[in-house]
């Protein structure tokens, strides 16, 4: 209910349109339901009188009513379409705006496809409702009431008998909503399941063939296919049973009318005209039944869609600019993480008590698998998310959060913090202040988001470039940059020479509508983009895919140019880069398990040391054989 009335609020912004199309639809319907009266008149008066002139007048009146019906109906449809499009336009703009404002936690928690469906498919469903829904429900009600009023003017007695039809109309609406439609939806969703199983098997056909599991997969497809067959047949069975049931019921009513009308005629209470008019009117009652059922169906679907679409508008933006931001023109680039906890608004902690202190210009290499929290950690610096602002602690490898009353539940036990300490099983845990991330000694939440982000550059492993010219992509952060500035950034990023080989140079459009860049080229464009932005803090995700030797050298060189003089956080596969980093941070399950310089970590003989030794041994074995670095080494 709530979501549709919210959608209606949007529609009511176009009050003129909204009431305009309802009025037009209402008037059209009135013309439609009174037209049988002309029939009654023709049969009962005109023909009895035998007046040809009057016959022409009345038949023309009938035609006029039909024409008016057409005109008003068309107008109603058109105005409804206008309104629906206006509302959809507004809604989409608002959704887009809202997407731009979301923090990254939103994008991490919701899959791209899901978000996309909410702003496209669901919006389309809402448009259907805006266009059809209000109108058919309104027309349905007006026709229902109007037809009975007209019937009443023809014959009150028969009208009373025909009132017994009303419950059938509503039963029909209910049966369709409760019984038929759920099966239709179930069939549709089974179709989705079948489709994804088929798609998966085709894409993975080589795996299926090489593991010789064809029989098993055939059975799996058969199961889903059979399930779909069953549901689809059941849906069609219900549809072909219930869809023609309304005309049948009204046909039966006409049958009854023959009897009652006949006896009424014989008794002199009913004329031919009245009888024929009644037959026509009763058949007209099919329409409200259909329209109301249709309207209810659309209502259900639109309501579900509106819920999904409005979710996007309703997810609170957690990142807010502070009321009194700290002004910043230049930053040095010191970054400190103090007791950082982070979760996606739940109890599943991605980061658990991380402490890390980085001086300006230092290079930090981060190691860890998926879910280790290394990416989340660096995303806290540009405030793509904020740290948890409640106090938390780790006990037996699991993180717990304190509630407002300084209490926490561990298993069955309820515990309370006393004197900044918590006692569990005779073990005392010191509870520290809520975590924070500092840049140049100031909490990042004290800066304006835009200010802090301007000083941070990010290069992803698979950088996203926009469907735009190369120049616009490089100048993404500073659209006002001159071509010279763009070029010098491109030169430092080792991509200039490539750009010059293109016919249109920097104006070459890339992406869907233009040329496709290789992974290595994309990465270098992204490096140029970051260079032009000239940030003090740099975040690099450098798990490159395979590139040839020349490209590898160029990327290496470009990265070196980029890293010079900036605080850098890097995720990389290059052992040499890791080794040369000022600080190596190894993470697992949201905690730092090892940290320090290369020499220090090697001396500790922990996981890093064994990784390093294993990988080096393997490479060493090879590298010492044969040539002694005859130009084989690039970028060291």
């Amino acid at each position: 209910m709530g979501y549709i009335s919210r959608l209606t609020q949007y529609a009511l912004k176009y009050r003129g349109h909204f009431f305009g199309f309802l009025t037009a639809a209402g008037i059209g319907t009135v013309f439609n339901v009174i037209s049988p009266l002309v029939l009654v008149e023709i049969i009962d008066s005109v023909i009895v009188l035998g007046d040809y002139g009057l016959l022409v007048t009345y038949t023309l009146l009938y035609l006029a009513l039909t024409a008016f019906y057409m005109i008003f109906d068309t107008t109603g449809r058109y105005v409804a379409a206008l309104m629906a499009q206006h509302v959809i336009y507004d809604l989409r703009s608002e959704l887009y705006d809202s997407l731009m404002e979301k923090d990254l936690a939103f994008y991490d928690q919701n899959e791209t496809g899901q978000i996309l469906a909410r702003v496209t498919t669901d919006v389309t469903t809402m448009r259907e409702f805006l266009f059809w829904g209000y109108r058919v429900i309104f027309i349905g009600i007006v026709t229902l009431i109007g037809t009975y009023i007209v019937m009443w003017t023809v014959s009150p007695e028969l009208t009373l008998i025909m009132l017994t039809l009303v419950p059938f109309i509503f039963t029909f609406v209910i049966v369709f909503a409760k019984k038929v439609r759920p099966v239709l939806y179930a069939a549709r969703s089974q179709y989705g399941v079948l489709s994804s199983v088929l798609a998966e098997n085709v894409v993975g056909m080589r795996v299926v063939q090489s593991f010789a599991t064809a029989d098993r997969e055939y059975a799996r497809v058969d199961e889903e296919n059979r399930g779909f067959l069953k549901l689809r047949v059941e849906a069609l069975r219900l549809l072909s049973f219930y869809r023609p049931i309304l005309p049948t019921i009204f046909g039966i009513a006409v049958g009854a009318l023959i009897y009652f009308g006949g006896t009424g005629y014989d008794a002199g209470g009913l004329s031919f005209g009245q009888f024929v008019g009644f037959v026509t009117l009763v058949s007209m009652l099919v329409l409200p039944g259909r329209f109301l059922s249709w309207g209810v169906g659309m209502y259900q679907r639109a309501s579900a869609s509106a819920e999904r679409a409005f979710y996007i508008l309703d997810v609170r933006d957690e990142l807010m600019d502070p009321a009194e931001p700290v002004c910043v023109d230049e930053i040095k680039g010191a970054v400190d993480f103090e007791n950082v906890y982070f979760s996606y608004r739940g109890n599943n902690f991605i980061l658990q008590g991380v402490d890390l202190h980085v001086k300006p210009g230092q290079v930090v290499a981060l190691l860890g698998g998926t879910g280790s929290g290394k990416t989340s950690l660096i995303n806290l610096i540009p405030r793509f998310y904020d740290v948890d602002d409640q106090r938390a602690f780790v006990y037996e490898g699991k993180a717990y959060r304190l509630n407002d009353k300084n209490c926490v539940e561990i298993g069955e036990k309820k515990l309370m913090v006393v004197d900044e300490e918590l006692e569990i099983d005779c073990q005392k845990i010191a509870i520290r202040k809520p975590g924070r991330v500092l840049v140049d000694g100031v909490d990042v939440r004290s800066y304006r988001i835009e200010d802090i982000r301007r000083h941070i550059g990010i290069v992803h492993q698979d950088p996203f470039l926009f469907t735009d010219s190369i120049r616009e992509n490089i100048a993404f952060a500073r659209p006002e940059a001159t071509l010279e500035e763009v070029q010098s950034a491109a030169e430092a990023a080792m991509i200039h020479d490539f750009v010059m080989t293109l016919e249109k140079g920097y104006d070459t459009v890339i992406g869907e509508r233009g040329i496709t860049l290789s992974g290595g080229q994309k990465q270098r464009v992204a490096i140029a983009r970051a260079l032009l932005a000239n940030p003090k803090i740099l975040i690099l995700d450098d798990s490159t895919s395979s590139v040839d030797a020349k490209t590898e050298m160029m990327i290496q060189k470009a990265l070196e140019n980029l890293m010079a003089g900036r605080t850098t956080f890097i995720i990389t596969h290059r052992l040499s880069t890791i080794r040369n980093a000022d600080l190596i941070v190894m993470m697992e399950k949201g905690q730092i398990v090892e940290m320090g310089s290369h020499e220090y970590l090697i001396s500790q003989e922990g996981l890093y040391s064994s990784i390093f030794h294993t990988l080096t041994e393997m490479e060493l074995a090879a590298s010492y054989v044969g040539t002694k670095t005859e130009g084989g080494d690039f970028g060291e």
């Binding site: 703009s93 996309l116 090489s210 058969d222 069609l236 049973f241 009308g261 590898e552 596969h573 005859e630």
Partner: protein
């Protein structure tokens, strides 16, 4: 309906004639002959009832009313009611039977197509994109669904209804019949005209909608970039532009749509008007009965639905034919690699492999392997190196019998692979692909794919053996972590580890490993390096190698160039040769390695 009106997805190659396609589709329905016959009878019955009903009404008005015969009146009334129920039940029955037939046909067709696709050899998958193949299975089969389960019969039924009513009304009154039928062509022409116009209008909206969608998609995927560079405003402006275009095209389509249905209804009203005018004047003259006029009004109403259905029929036939053509094309494509009639299953093997004077190419006259000779001992690890296009992948494709050789033979323990059943051959050969494909489900499900009935212990052993337990147990839910569609929720390196464990669990006698070229985080790389060693142990292995360590640790390095073996031997031997391997090493292998030691040596 001119050709250019047909939307792209309905394009046809006309490899089959319409008649052939229809015949073949109907053959699927003919599997249910009895139901087919039942439907025909029921359709005929339903048409009969449909035509009878208005006559009963006429009977009531013209004969029973005022006759004073209450019994006759009751009889007519009951007859009318019975006919209504009969009309409903016959319609329900034939629609339902049609639906079961049509849907069974669709089910069978889809299953047949899938089965056929499983049997297709690799060249088929190389030639056509998986997107297209998926579309055959899903969309193209579905295109036939409407025609087979509703359209075909009901359209014929509707045509018969129009013909039957048309004929019957002439026997009643020629003048009114001409008027009533006069409206039909007008209805038909208007409908066809509007359909064309609407189709164009909707085609335009599809275009603008898709640019709205792709703009949304780009903005969502690029959200991180837009935010890092604080460029929200510019993106908004761009979106506003496509949003406005979509608004306009939809309003245009809305205009056409708003006019269509009311106009059709008006034309039908025009028919009633003419019947009233002519019928009325003849009533005044007394040359016709009221019941007949009312009957004609009722009949004129009955043309309405058939015309719309028939107009729809064309579209649904076009769509079904387009789908059928593509589906049948795939069904008629024979796999190039098949079991021989007398193929034997491969007995347990040691793992000796022989390539004996093999000639092979993907395209006629363009050989990829030329007189290729390679003898691999059981338990040996072979590293295949060479430039792209040198024939490395071809060697493993032939061993797996994804293709057949032109001449010469590929033998496993002395058995020519062509004499073996494909299933038995492939179940002995494990394959680890460069970018491993994972199925939806958990990490555990995917590892188990290698051996369906593996015990929990075997599974954990395999994970432990390849050294993946640390990496995998550190995932969010450990082995229970959902990998997502095609494994997208895991990193590249983690997907590789899962595929190692999957291959180890399957425990094949021969292992083919296409080493991944992308470098992964060294945390995972460490596990991969160790895992690979374990995986290659105790079995014949052929590795398309990229990592220096893999190459160096191989028993034999085989260097390919233009489909021929140019060098073979150990790393040190080949380096000393200063030939092809040496230059490959300098240009490709070594730069990709991690170059740790270089600093120490300077």
């Amino acid at each position: 309906m001119s050709g250019h009106m047909v939307a792209d997805e309905e394009e046809r190659t006309y490899a089959y004639s319409d008649g052939d396609l229809l015949k073949r589709m109907i053959r699927y329905l003919l599997a249910y002959r009895r139901r087919f016959a039942a439907v025909s009878v029921l359709v005929a019955l339903s048409i009969g009832v449909d035509i009878w009903i208005p006559f009963v009404l006429r009977q009531a008005i013209d004969v029973d009313f005022g006759s004073g015969n209450a019994q006759a009146l009751l009889f007519t009334s009951l007859l009318y009611i019975v006919l209504q129920i009969a009309a409903w039940l016959t319609t329900f029955a034939y629609e339902y039977i049609m639906a079961t037939m049509g849907q069974h046909a669709i089910y069978t067709m889809r299953q047949e197509l899938y089965d056929h696709l499983q049997g297709m050899s690799q060249d088929f998958y190389d030639k056509s994109s998986s997107g297209r193949i998926i579309s055959r299975l899903i969309n193209d089969v579905e295109r036939m669904s409407e025609l087979l389960s509703e359209g075909l019969f009901s359209s014929f039924a509707q045509i018969f209804i129009v013909l039957a009513i048309g004929t019957v009304i002439f026997t009643v009154d020629i003048q009114l019949a001409l008027i009533t039928l006069g409206v039909v062509p007008v209805l038909l022409v208007t409908t066809i005209y509007f359909r064309r116009y609407l189709r164009e209008a909707y085609r335009r909206t599809r275009k603008t909608i898709s640019s709205v969608t792709s703009n949304f998609a780009e903005s969502i995927s690029g959200a991180k970039e837009t935010k890092s560079f604080t460029r929200e405003k510019k993106s908004m402006d761009r979106f506003t532009e496509v949003n406005r275009k979509d608004y306009q095209s939809n309003v245009d389509a809305g205009k056409a749509n708003a006019t269509f249905f009311p106009s059709i209804r008006f034309i039908s009203g025009l028919g009633v008007f003419l019947i009233l005018l002519v019928g009325g004047s003849r009533l005044i003259q007394g040359t016709i009965t009221l019941g007949t006029v009312v009957m004609f009004i009722q009949f004129s109403d009955r043309f309405f639905r058939p015309i719309l259905t028939i107009a729809n029929f064309y579209t649904s036939v076009q769509s079904a034919f387009a789908g059928a053509e593509r589906v049948f094309t795939v069904l008629d494509t024979e796999p190039t690699v098949r079991d021989k009639p007398d193929a034997i299953p491969l007995p347990p093997i040691k793992g000796n492999i022989t390539f004996d004077h093999v000639h092979f190419g993907y395209l006629e006259d363009i050989p990829v392997l030329k007189d290729f000779e390679l003898e691999i001992q059981a338990g040996e690890t072979i590293a295949l190196v060479g430039d792209t296009g040198a024939g490395k992948t071809t060697v493993i494709n032939l061993l797996n019998r994804f293709y057949d050789v032109w001449s010469g033979s590929v033998r496993v323990d002395g058995f020519d692979v062509r004499d073996l059943t494909l299933e038995s051959l492939r179940s002995r050969i494990g394959v680890v692909l460069q970018s491993p494909f994972l199925f939806m489900g958990t990490v555990r499900d995917n590892i188990r794919y290698g051996k369906h009935d593996a015990s929990e212990e075997e599974l954990l052993d395999a994970v432990e053996a390849i050294g993946a337990s640390r990496v995998l147990s550190n995932l969010e839910n450990g082995l229970e972590t959902e990998v997502g569609e095609r494994g997208a929720r895991l990193s590249e390196g983690e997907r590789q580890l899962v595929s190692f464990a999957r291959a180890l669990l399957a425990d094949p006698s021969i292992l083919i490993l296409d080493e991944a070229t992308s470098s992964v985080d060294i945390y995972t790389e460490y596990a991969i390096q160790r895992g690979m060693k374990r995986l290659l142990k105790n079995r014949t292995s052929i590795v398309i190698a990229h990592r220096l360590s893999t190459i160096v640790n191989a028993d034999r390095i085989v260097v390919l160039e233009n489909g021929e073996i140019v060098e073979a031997g150990k790393h040190s031997e080949l380096m000393a040769l200063k030939g092809k391997y040496y230059s490959l090493y300098e240009l490709q292998i070594h730069p990709r390695a991690m170059k740790v030691p270089s600093k120490d040596r300077e």
